[in-house]
Subunit: 427 residues, 2 copies
């Protein structure tokens, strides 16, 4: 189905996000987050990291390698950029890519002009994204966090690595030119969005990427996810509805404050629920501010609302089969598909990126979609993920990955999981 | 219900949007659009125009009045600003305002510091919004379009008025200081969003306002709205469902291309429909690119889907009455309220602001919400508006108002309108 996000697809728009910035400015992190966000929205995106191409030739270069006056270093770095661009172009053509990201310092006007011309020849729109930072503490944190564990420094002493890396940055600083060409389409993120400069943004897709990157922050925080406690409908295997918690679901609601306190400690927390009874009853005893979102309501099963899987298989066998075949795209008659749920969750994800510690009490399908965003789960798998009842899931976003912990409440509940390809009529 | 937009309300956040800019930079237009957008989202907002306070004392001032060296003029302008701020403060207190807009040039750092301190004393967050423009053509268009019809020049020769007005701008230019204080929260819109500079945006509400103003454009365009043609469900008075067009609905679909061509001419157009059959069948013969949005689907009547008003009144008398009492807030069991529909239409409105000529074929409740945004219809009236079937509505956004034309297709259809307070059982 065409929707807002495919306006540009239908116009065959292709964008290359050209990252710009000195080393240790969070470019790769930003690039990977953009890829994850767009992929979650079904927009084909991929990042091409020039450093990893360069390492094919020179695995552990010293800072001297990055000196602009080192012609051999310069030649090899240009060669790496060419290889990355070549692979990106192939990806655009062969895999119908929509947003390619060229992840490198791209620190001079000359280099950017070279890229711009190459892209113009292939009818790809250049969109420059600069991460600019002069906050010494932020830079040092980034160096210590990420860069000393970089493939360039495998097996080296961290302090030595940090020192060498700062030397490398200095080499880049000597020639660095910030974005200021009024003709280019760009966004400049200054000191983690303290200031943002946006220039000549045209398309919908560009404006979405801009809005996303300007909402990112790098503060440490966690997100907790839980399904509602077992409900009366769960007991009878019915989908949807707005039933209350079962006695065991009620037990989970009562135990949840302790579970959450053990995980959260004294950090400030806000709890989000859906507008349905079972999530609000589950969150009832949690002593934190609460917010109810319609967008967190369960996937709407349309005409199948209130039915069991068995009844659906009996009364709508073709629908049952179609859903089994492509659960992500299948839209219940008069209801929603997983794709529809992702579209309505987009503002939730945006707000989650802006916020710090949040706990979300919601429903199976919605939780799968949120989880898929953070854990980068592809769409053929996300609708089939097992998310047990009565379990607190802790997600801790880190640079380049999200750490997960699951804390079961040890309160029995029915399983509401149906495996792909299984019939409920066989039982 | 608390939702994303009330996060800040619950934190008792109050914002004053302080407009900054030379005359004829579209500040008042922007201020009024922000008020309309926020009001539509149920966020209490009001604009306070300093010029109208100043006119209470000096109805038709000449350019000399605005000379910084004219102490009497300066005294009166400060006095007007004080009156506007005083009224705004009262509005915040007495009417629980959330976003007040101070619409004036606020062109010097001194004036802005005076406002910032006043706001700090009242625990109101200052958020500066500057419209900066050096495109001579844009400025002249604005002067000719709007300013020569300004209350300051009532009854004067337009050419003389324009000349005087340009003199007035010069007086301001002499002392104008653009926003550049890194400590302030601001957004600077340069040449109608060719470039946007965003500084220290913190809250959700601020980020929504920024995203809104950066998507605005001033190109001339029209929006056409139509309900789907009469459907089979319309004939039997049933709500919701996904029925096909009736024979008369089909006639409307066939006549629509001519109606649209007469209105649109040779301007480029894109047609948006919902994902339901009756809107796509209605748009079937329109020879323009089409896009189907789930967010344009009809208000979900939940358990009442497929019922007639009569059946609802009989089977759910309390719901029927509750809906009559507050139709905007009433949420069908397992379904939606008008408020819910507005929340899911927000991205549609944002995209409409970005686009040029768009035609939307959708459903009664959804059309009412979109219409309410453009025509500034309050929430106690919008759910009760009459929007007849088989009629093309043309909206032309102009500075300070939207012009409307209705073109009936002259194809009979059932009336699907139920007046407030009427019983369907009486019939």
């Amino acid at each position: 189905m065409a929707n807002g996000y495919t306006i540009n697809n239908s116009e065959h728009q292709r964008i290359c996000v050209v990252m710009v910035g000195l080393p240790a400015r969070g470019k790769s992190l930003m690039a990977q987050k953009i890829v994850r966000y767009l992929s979650w929205l079904s927009i084909k995106a991929k990042s091409f990291n020039v450093g990893s191409y360069r390492r094919l030739e020179e695995a552990h270069p010293s800072a001297e390698f990055f000196d602009i006056h080192n012609t051999e270093g310069e030649r090899m770095r240009l060669q790496a950029a060419k290889l990355a661009v070549k692979d990106m172009m192939e990806w655009f053509e062969e895999e119908q890519g929509i947003v390619g990201i060229l992840d490198a310092t791209n620190s001079t006007k000359k280099r950017r002009e070279w890229i711009r011309q190459l892209l113009a020849e292939h009818d790809i729109e250049p969109f420059f994204v600069e991460s600019w930072c002069d906050d010494k503490e932020l830079i040092m944190n980034n160096i210590m966090d990420v860069k000393t564990s970089s493939p360039d420094y495998v097996g080296q002493d961290p302090e030595e690595a940090a020192k060498d890396f700062m030397e490398r940055i200095k080499k880049y600083e000597e020639v660095y030119e910030t974005l200021d060409d009024q003709e280019l389409t760009y966004v400049k993120i200054i000191n983690i969005s303290t200031q943002v400069v946006i220039n000549r943004i045209q398309s919908y897709l560009q404006s979405r990427i801009v809005y996303y990157v300007m909402n990112l922050h790098i503060k440490r925080r966690c997100i907790w996810l839980s399904r509602h406690g077992e409900s009366e409908y769960n007991l009878t295997g019915k989908l949807g509805g707005d039933s209350s918690l079962s006695p065991r679901g009620q037990l989970y609601a009562e135990k949840l404050p302790q579970l959450v306190r053990d995980a959260v400690g004294d950090r400030p927390l806000t709890v989000w629920t859906s507008t349905l009874k079972r999530t609000q009853q589950t969150a009832k005893y949690l002593p934190y501010p609460k917010l109810h979102w319609k967008a967190l309501d369960e996937l709407d099963a349309g005409v199948c609302d209130g039915m069991t899987y068995e009844e659906i298989e009996r009364d709508f066998p073709e629908d049952f089969e179609a859903r089994d075949k492509n659960k992500y795209e299948y839209r219940y008659r008069g209801g929603e598909s997983y794709r529809d749920v992702v579209a309505r969750l987009e503002p939730i994800i945006m707000e989650l990126e802006r916020q710090e510690n949040i706990m979300i009490v919601t429903h199976q399908a919605v939780l799968r979609c949120i989880y898929a965003y953070f854990m980068n789960v592809p769409q053929d798998r996300s609708p089939w993920m097992v998310v047990p009842l009565h379990t607190l899931i802790q997600l801790e976003p880190r640079p380049y990955s999200t750490a997960e912990t699951r804390v079961p409440a040890n309160i029995p509940a029915v399983s509401t999981y149906r495996e792909k390809g299984t019939s409920t009529l066989d039982k």
